[in-house]
Structures are given as structure tokens and as C-alpha cells.
């Protein structure tokens, strides 16, 4: 009943305004009072519930950042854990507002799924892990050996086609879930295993003696991971994209979770002022349909990109991952925040 009532009110408003436009997703989210975020609930470092049941991880922090930007409150997120196969349906049916589930940006997904990808938050690639003393140093050394791989993913087909192209014959050992695969690899059921580099790193800590293993200096695919929204709502796409850019920029300009309050009033750099919507520069953020302090709230909630990385994957986590290619552009990486201007 309330739904109909609300609909009638909305209709009356629209008609009385004399303009007819579809209600955007941003407005829908604001009305609903919560952001629906499709995530992975089973990938350590990227998204996994902790002992209190709260989701934590790299992808989760971006959900929080977007929620903070929209509502000024990072807790107003509803997480929808998705399996790899559920992603397109969840996105297309509108069940989720944004998909942040270590999803590779590919042409098929932009066209078939109808997904618009926001900036890449993690540059990944499919790699291989082997024991240091296994004598395997290149893909050719997999001849006659076995490789563990997770089923139903592009990883599986990449592996098949790449090694077939090299003329290498190997035995695939297929697993439904990553944890089982890791245990099997650690127990020597296969000579190597393959998945995205981030996954390799995140699971290396789970091995009995992590230092006995190495990641081959070979990448057989490009896997840029980033948030995706549904085609056809440019305003919402801009909000998601620029929240990410804001986090990139914050790192570049030295805005952190700790000093953001100070920066808001005392920053001299006009870039920082526009980014934070400081007094006098509110319009840069308000133009997105957000409140002036949207990105300030996002940074306040989760920190800048570098902090998110360090906390979940980098030196501040059990994974101790190097920034590598995910460093800022001025450090030789690919992370490049666009200017607020």
C-alpha cells in the first residue's frame, strides 16, 4: 500500500513539475536509504566476513566509500554475496546497485552483461604458483605435470588455450572452491596452480610454509578488476567512477583518513579543496548530485586508495602484497586519478 502511495505522490510531483524524467538510480538509492553492493564473500583480502560477521576486504572498502559518498554514512550498505555465475543476473535485474566482486573488465561483459566499468581498482593477471624447488621455471616446464585450477572461471579456459598453444600437455585438476584447491596444492596433489595474481598472493599465506613457494614471472592474461554498474544511468556511473578517482587523487595529494579533517579547512591546494568540497569549492562535488562533503566522507570512512590497499592487501595485512603495478603513476604504476576541475 505504501508503495502505491509513494508512487502516486511521486507521480503527482513529476506531473506538477511539468517535466517527465525517469527516476535515476542515485535518487532511488537515496530514497531507499541503503546501497546494495554485490560482493565476494569468500576471497580473503577482498571480501570475507570476520568473526563478528562484518564483511571486510579491499572490495568491501569501495562499497563503503560509495555509501559514504552518497549518505555520509559508510554503514548504509547491504552486501549481497554473489557467486561468479550470479553476477550478470544480479546486475541486470537491478538486484544490486554496483558490482564490486573482483570482476574483470572485458568487452563481453560491457556488451553482453550491459555493464559499465568504473576505473580499475586492481590490475591483475592470471599467474602460476609452484614450489620453489619443483624445477618449474616457465610454462614449458609444466609438460607432463598437473595444474590445479578452479572450475567455471575464465581462468580455466585461459589455462587450457594457453598451454595448448604452447604444445604443452598437462593434467588439469579441477576444484569447485579455492580453499579446497589450496589445501590440495599444499598437499602436493598438483605441481602448480593458477588463478589471478591477487588470488595467488592472498592464498599464499594459507600454505604451510609460504616461503617455499613462488609465483612464476609469467602472466597469461590481463585481469583489470573494477566496480561495474548497469548501462544506461550516466549519473550513477559518474558517482561511482569519481568516488574511485577521488580515492586515487586523495593518495596523490596526501589526503588521508587521519588528516582529512585538517585538509578540509586548511588545504592550500585547489585540487584538494575541490576534491573535498571545501568551503568555496562545493559545486565541484554537488554537480554529481551529491552533497558537498561526499568525497570527504568517503575518505573519512575508508582512507585513500593507498590506505585501503595497505590495510587489506599490503603491508598492514597478513598478505604483505607489494603495490607493484597498482602503485600510483608517479611511482611507476597504473593508478591515475583524474583531476577535479
Amino acid at each position: 500500500m505504501t508503495r502505491y502511495f509513494r508512487f502516486l505522490v511521486a507521480l503527482a510531483l513529476v506531473v506538477s513539475a511539468g517535466t517527465v524524467f525517469a527516476q535515476g538510480r542515485l535518487q532511488a538509492i537515496k530514497d531507499r536509504g541503503e546501497l546494495r553492493c554485490g560482493v565476494n564473500a569468500n576471497l580473503p583480502g577482498f571480501g570475507v566476513p570476520d568473526a563478528s560477521g562484518a564483511y571486510t576486504g579491499f572490495d568491501i572498502d569501495f562499497c563503503k566509500a560509495i555509501a559514504a559518498a552518497v549518505f555520509g554514512d559508510a554503514s548504509k550498505v547491504v552486501y549481497r554475496p554473489l557467486t561468479a555465475g550470479e553476477r550478470p543476473t544480479a546486475l541486470q535485474s537491478g538486484e544490486i546497485d554496483v558490482l564490486i566482486r573482483n570482476t574483470t573488465r572485458t568487452s563481453i561483459r560491457e556488451t553482453d552483461w550491459g555493464a559499465n566499468f568504473a576505473p580499475t581498482t586492481y590490475y591483475d593477471g592470471q599467474g602460476f604458483m609452484v614450489r620453489k624447488d619443483s624445477g618449474i621455471n616457465s610454462l614449458r616446464d609444466f609438460e607432463g605435470r598437473s595444474i590445479c585450477v578452479q572450475s567455471g572461471t575464465t581462468t580455466e579456459t585461459n589455462l587450457g588455450t594457453t598451454l595448448a598453444g604452447l604444445g604443452v600437455q598437462f593434467t588439469p585438476v579441477i576444484f569447485e572452491t579455492a580453499p579446497v584447491l589450496i589445501a590440495a596444492y599444499d598437499d602436493g596433489q598438483c605441481d602448480g596452480w593458477t588463478t589471478d595474481g591477487s588470488g595467488l598472493v592472498s592464498y599464499q599465506t594459507q600454505l604451510r610454509v609460504p616461503s617455499d613457494h613462488k609465483i612464476l614471472p609469467v602472466i597469461i592474461s590481463k585481469e583489470p578488476l573494477g566496480p561495474a554498474v548497469l548501462h544506461g544511468d550516466d549519473q550513477w556511473y559518474d558517482v561511482v567512477s569519481w568516488t574511485i578517482y577521488a580515492l586515487f587523487d586523495a593518495e596523490e595529494y596526501g589526503v588521508t583518513q587521519a588528516n582529512v579533517d585538517d585538509m578540509l579547512f586548511n588545504a592550500a591546494d585547489p585540487q584538494v579543496k575541490r576534491l573535498l568540497g571545501a568551503p568555496g569549492s562545493e559545486s565541484y562535488v554537488q554537480a554529481f548530485g551529491l552533497r558537498a562533503d561526499a568525497f570527504y566522507q568517503a575518505i573519512k570512512a575508508v582512507g585513500n586508495y593507498g590506505e585501503i590497499f595497505d590495510r587489506n592487501l599490503g603491508s598492514g595485512s597478513v598478505f604483505g602484497l607489494e603495490r607493484g603495478i597498482n602503485a600510483q603513476y608517479y611511482d611507476g604504476g597504473l593508478i591515475y586519478g583524474f583531476p577535479f576541475n
Binding site: T89, D112, E143, G152, V173, I174, D186, D187
Partner: protein
């Protein structure tokens, strides 16, 4: 009763048509069918529109597309480039493979446990009860995960140092392999003899029965047909080995440096893999470099061990083992201790100088770990091995290197490599490899109707023989153990249901305890037991769909992967329902037959 006529007669009550049971029935059915059809129509319409909206396939055309799913366990040849249809067929065959073996084993264990539960021995009885009660009250999913993740993966030793059991069995954490007889390309020669043997066996059976009936005496019938069959079939098998030669169109290509080859029939330039062909491979001089490893195996530390592909002493005139970097090894005082000649060695430092490995000498005091990462070179002269190619026509030997090449490779690996983990994208995945100098002499062996294929470990997986992966074994164990606990209860109930008088009568006429059980009680119990047992068999088959928990590529697992990849949920669902219904129909046909037989016997 006819409504039209009854209305004429005043003596019978008038039944208006709306109260006539038959008419109401017809109307009710009519309404029901219309509602059903309409309901289904609406649902189908919903599905079709939804599919069209989501751009998902609703027909079976995807079946012909290449699957790209690597499947390790298969009963028929398969490559990554084969179609989805073939992948699904492999899944179905894998389901049957686990169901058939599982049913046999579950019956054996279940009957054993059921009998144990009635043992007069208190301890045995109690243990059997605990077995049954614990296993049937824990979800199968939990049991599969337990057998797979907690038992079969961590406990057996690694493939590089497997347990070689008598009879050619090899067990490791990759699975179990054992010798197996396979039909060869000359199997056709034997078939006429087999048919003849079957016919003659029937004749022998009929003749023996008639002879017995004529002589009016009791005697056993079955040895006659069996002996006849064995003699004739054996004769045919023996003959298939006579006059054998290698067909001119059968070829064998062998890449010595990759350690693999293919047997194939080449007709008009087209080659077709030839399955189960024995070939002899001879390599004059070669070497193999292996690094020592520190492993956790069977939950124990195995330090500084070097493993070479499992071999028998017979295969080579001489093995020679040296450290790749002899000077460095000498400097560190490293020694090799072969504890299982010639395939496994441990590196140690002879600290007490007695010339053999003592406890603790395999640990480096500096790092408190074994001497890992030390390269050891095995040099072989006149390596000779006869192998049987597998179903796909593949054979594999250890990946030997030419002796000079091996030395060069060691030098290269000693040099520091440039680049870090993720140094660059698009890095060439193909390393340039110089032309190999390693050559091998090969020869195709002539063969009869059957060939014995032995299992061996050329690199780090089984080749030849029959191979059962650890995934299969884990699922099998869980299914067998779980189902056997139900079968045990059924058997126990069946035995208890045999009237007490039967046992007493049997004992009274002087049968022993064992005879009473095997001749009187058990056959009667079997009649009560069979129908519920068959439904347990069906349950086992259906439960095999939990294979994904053990990583076994069974029908449901492959179907869900295909559905994920193609989005063809509806066609896949229909295929799955069809396949499972076919299986359960087959079981109910068997069940009906059994019921009919038992009913006949009872009367």
C-alpha cells in the same frame, strides 16, 4: 446408472447432473487440466520472455560448441576443444563409474556390518552399532569433505615418493593406480572366438542338464559351461597372439626432449590416435636434473629429499648420480643417501663421519630446515622402457635432457633472473628453446587381443594402467561408507525378520552355525532385504551429485559448469532431469523384476 433413465423412475432418487459423481469427476478433471495447462502456459511464457530479455539460450544448439573445460577423469577420449555435448557425456559416464563401483562396495561392507551388528560378541556388536549410528546421522556433505580434505589429501605420501604395493599397485596423494588389461586394435580377431565360446557354453549347459535328467541323478551343472567357455575363449586369445605383426599404417612419433609420443593410424595423411599400443623406447645417454625439496608429507616433515621418476633397476645398465654443482656440494660437505634405490635420496651432511645418514644429519643447523634446492643430476645410459599408450594414444617418459644441454641449463638457472613477479604484462609466454640433441630409438611392438598396461610415474602423475584419482576415491569412500550404514540396518532387519523356527529347525537337522546362516537364514533374509536395498542403490547414485565437494567431474558438476559458461540454464536443467530420470527408471525396472521374482518364489 444412467441419469437420463433414472429420472423416469420414481422409485430411485433423482440424481441431478451436478451431484452425479461421474459427471463431477469429469468436470473436476476438465477444470484441473485446464488450470494445469493454463498455469504451465503462463509459466512457460514467463520463462520465454525472461530468457529473451536476458539474451540467454533456450535451445540445445550450444551443445555443439567447443567446451574449453579441462577434464582429467574420463572414460572416452576428450580434448579441451571438444564439444559441450561430449563433456556432458563424460560426466554421465563418470556418474555411472562411481555408482556401479559404489553399489558393489557398499553392499559388501553393508552386509558385513549388518551381520556384525548381530554378532554374539559384545565388542564387535557395539563397534558395528557405533559405525552405523555415527555414519548415518552425519550429513553426507560433511563426510565427503572429511574424507577428501582431512584424510585423503594430507595422509598418503606425495606422488614423487609413492607407496608401491605388491601387484603393481601404486598409491599416493594423487590417487591409486594399478595394472589393467585393455583391448587393443586387434581385439576384433578375438570376437568370433568369444561368440563361439558363448554358444558352446550354452550347448554344454543344455547337454549336461539333459544328461543329468536322463541319468536321473543330482550333480552340478555349472562347471561344464564355464570350462567350455574358458577353453574356447582362451584358445582364441592365444591364437590372436600368433602371426601378429605391426600394421603398416600404425605409426609412433616420439619427442624425446618432451618425453612424450603418440601412436596413431595414418590413413591418407589423416591420423587417428591408436589406443593401447605397446612401444619400446630406448635412449642411449641422457640426464635428468632434480632439485631437493623439503616437504610435509603424511603430516610429517621430509627434509632435503630428491626424487627421480619411479623406475626399476632393470631398465638401465647404469644410473649415476652427481650434484649439479659438485664443487659447491663438496664445500658444504653434502652427501646423498639412497634409501630406496634408485628413485629417492636424502641429502645430508655426514657430521659424525660414519658414512651414513643418521637422525638429524638431514637438517641444516643454520636454517633448521633440510638441504632444499640442491640440484642433483641423474645420468642414464641405455635407458629402455616398454610402454603401452593410453586411450588417447599417448605415452610418456621422464623428460630427459641431452647431457650437454643439462649442463647448460644448470648454468643458466644459476644466473640471476631479471624481473619481479608482475614486472610486465604481455611478457612472452613462450621461452625460446634450442633444438634438442636428445634422440631416442623407438619400436612398435606387435600385440594380441589384450595388452597388460602397467601403471608408472614418468613425471609427476600416473601413466598407464588404471588410474583412480584421489577425488574419485574420496567420493567413493564417503558414498560407500554412508550407504553401507543404511544397508547394514536393512540387512539386520532382514535377518531378524526370518522366523526363529527356521534357525531352530536348521540346527535340529544338524547344520552347523555357519551352514545355518549361509544356507537357511541369509537366503531368506535376502528376499526381504533386496527391495529396500535397491532403493539405497538409487540413493547412492543420486548422492553422487555431491561430487563437487570432492572435485570429481561427475554429471551434475559438469552440467553446472556448462550452465555457468553458456547461461543455458533451462536446456541444462531439462538434460539433467532426463538423465536422472533415466537412471531412476532403470533402477525401478530392476526393482520390479526383483519384486516379481520374489513374489513368484514366495508362492
Amino acid at each position: 446408472m444412467q441419469p437420463g433413465k433414472s429420472s423416469v423412475s420414481p422409485s430411485t432418487a433423482v440424481v441431478p447432473f451436478w451431484r452425479n459423481v461421474k459427471i463431477i469427476g469429469v468436470i473436476a478433471q476438465f477444470v484441473f487440466v485446464i488450470a494445469l495447462v493454463a498455469g504451465i502456459g503462463i509459466l512457460v511464457n514467463n520463462v520465454v520472455t525472461a530468457l529473451a530479455k536476458a539474451n540467454l539460450p533456450a535451445d540445445f544448439s550450444f551443445l555443439g560448441k567447443p567446451a574449453g573445460i579441462p577434464i582429467a577423469e574420463r572414460a572416452i577420449p576428450y580434448q579441451v576443444t571438444d564439444t559441450y555435448a561430449r563433456a556432458l557425456v563424460i560426466g554421465f559416464l563418470n556418474t555411472l563409474k562411481i555408482a556401479v563401483v559404489g553399489v558393489v562396495l557398499a553392499t559388501v561392507i553393508g552386509v558385513f556390518m549388518g551381520v556384525m551388528r548381530l554378532s554374539s560378541n559384545w565388542l564387535v556388536r557395539t563397534m558395528a552399532s557405533v559405525y552405523v549410528e555415527v555414519l548415518r546421522n552425519i550429513p553426507l556433505a560433511v563426510q565427503i569433505v572429511f574424507w577428501y580434505s582431512a584424510v585423503l589429501l594430507p595422509f598418503p605420501p606425495r606422488i614423487s615418493d609413492p607407496i608401491a604395493l605388491p601387484g603393481g599397485l601404486i598409491m599416493s596423494n594423487v590417487g591409486l593406480a594399478f595394472p589393467f588389461l585393455y583391448p587393443t586394435y586387434r581385439f576384433g580377431v578375438w570376437v568370433p572366438y568369444l561368440i563361439a565360446a558363448a554358444v558352446l557354453a550354452c550347448v554344454a549347459w543344455w547337454w549336461r542338464r539333459r544328461a543329468l535328467a536322463k541319468a536321473d541323478r543330482v550333480g552340478s551343472v555349472w562347471p561344464f559351461p564355464v570350462v567350455t567357455f574358458l577353453v574356447v575363449a582362451g584358445l582364441g586369445l592365444g591364437l590372436s597372439y600368433l602371426g601378429r605383426s605391426v600394421p603398416s599404417d600404425l605409426t609412433f612419433t616420439f619427442e624425446a626432449d618432451r618425453g612424450r609420443g603418440t601412436t596413431a593410424f595414418v590413413v591418407d595423411g589423416k591420423s587417428r590416435p591408436a589406443a593401447f599400443v605397446p612401444v619400446a623406447i630406448e635412449i642411449e645417454k641422457a640426464s635428468l636434473t632434480v632439485s631437493s625439496q623439503n616437504l610435509v608429507e603424511s603430516r610429517q616433515d621430509v627434509r632435503g629429499s630428491v626424487r627421480f621418476p619411479l623406475m626399476s633397476e632393470r631398465e638401465a645398465d647404469a644410473f649415476e648420480f652427481t650434484f649439479a654443482d659438485a664443487a659447491a656440494a663438496e664445500e658444504r660437505g653434502l652427501q646423498l643417501s639412497f634409501d630406496k634405490y634408485p628413485s629417492v635420496a636424502t641429502i645430508y651432511v655426514d657430521r659424525n663421519g660414519n658414512g651414513k645418514l643418521d637422525a638429524g644429519e638431514d637438517v641444516d643447523p643454520a636454517t633448521n630446515r633440510g638441504y632444499g634446492g640442491v640440484d642433483v643430476v641423474m645420468t642414464v645410459t641405455n635407458f629402455r622402457r616398454t610402454l603401452v599408450s593410453d586411450r588417447d594414444g599417448q605415452v610418456r617418459t621422464p623428460t630427459f635432457k641431452h647431457i650437454d644441454e643439462a649442463a647448460a641449463a644448470v648454468e643458466e638457472s644459476a644466473a640471476p633472473r631479471a624481473g619481479t613477479r608482475f614486472s610486465a604484462f604481455g611478457q612472452a609466454a613462450t621461452a625460446t628453446v634450442s633444438e634438442s640433441a636428445l634422440t631416442a630409438k623407438t619400436e612398435i611392438q606387435p600385440v594380441g587381443a589384450l595388452v597388460l598396461s602397467r601403471a608408472y610415474v614418468p613425471v609427476s602423475n600416473y601413466e598407464g594402467g588404471m588410474r583412480l584419482t584421489v577425488n574419485y576415491l574420496a567420493l567413493l569412500l564417503a558414498l560407500v561408507v554412508y550407504t553401507s550404514s543404511f544397508i547394514a540396518e536393512i540387512v539386520r532387519g532382514g535377518i531378524l525378520a526370518v522366523p526363529k523356527g527356521q534357525r531352530e529347525a536348521a540346527r535340529a537337522i544338524g547344520l552347523s552355525g555357519v551352514q545355518t546362516f549361509s544356507l537357511i537364514i541369509f537366503p531368506q533374509a535376502m528376499r526381504i532385504v533386496l527391495p529396500p536395498m535397491i532403493s539405497q542403490y538409487l540413493n547412492l547414485t543420486k548422492n553422487s551429485s555431491l561430487a563437487s565437494l570432492a572435485g570429481y567431474a561427475e554429471l551434475f558438476v559438469i552440467a553446472s559448469v556448462v550452465s555457468n559458461q553458456t547461461g543455458a540454464a533451462i536446456p541444462i536443467a531439462l538434460l539433467l532431469i532426463g538423465a536422472y530420470l533415466a537412471i531412476s527408471l532403470a533402477f525401478s525396472v530392476v526393482l520390479n523384476q526383483v519384486n516379481a521374482r520374489l513374489a513368484l518364489v514366495e508362492r
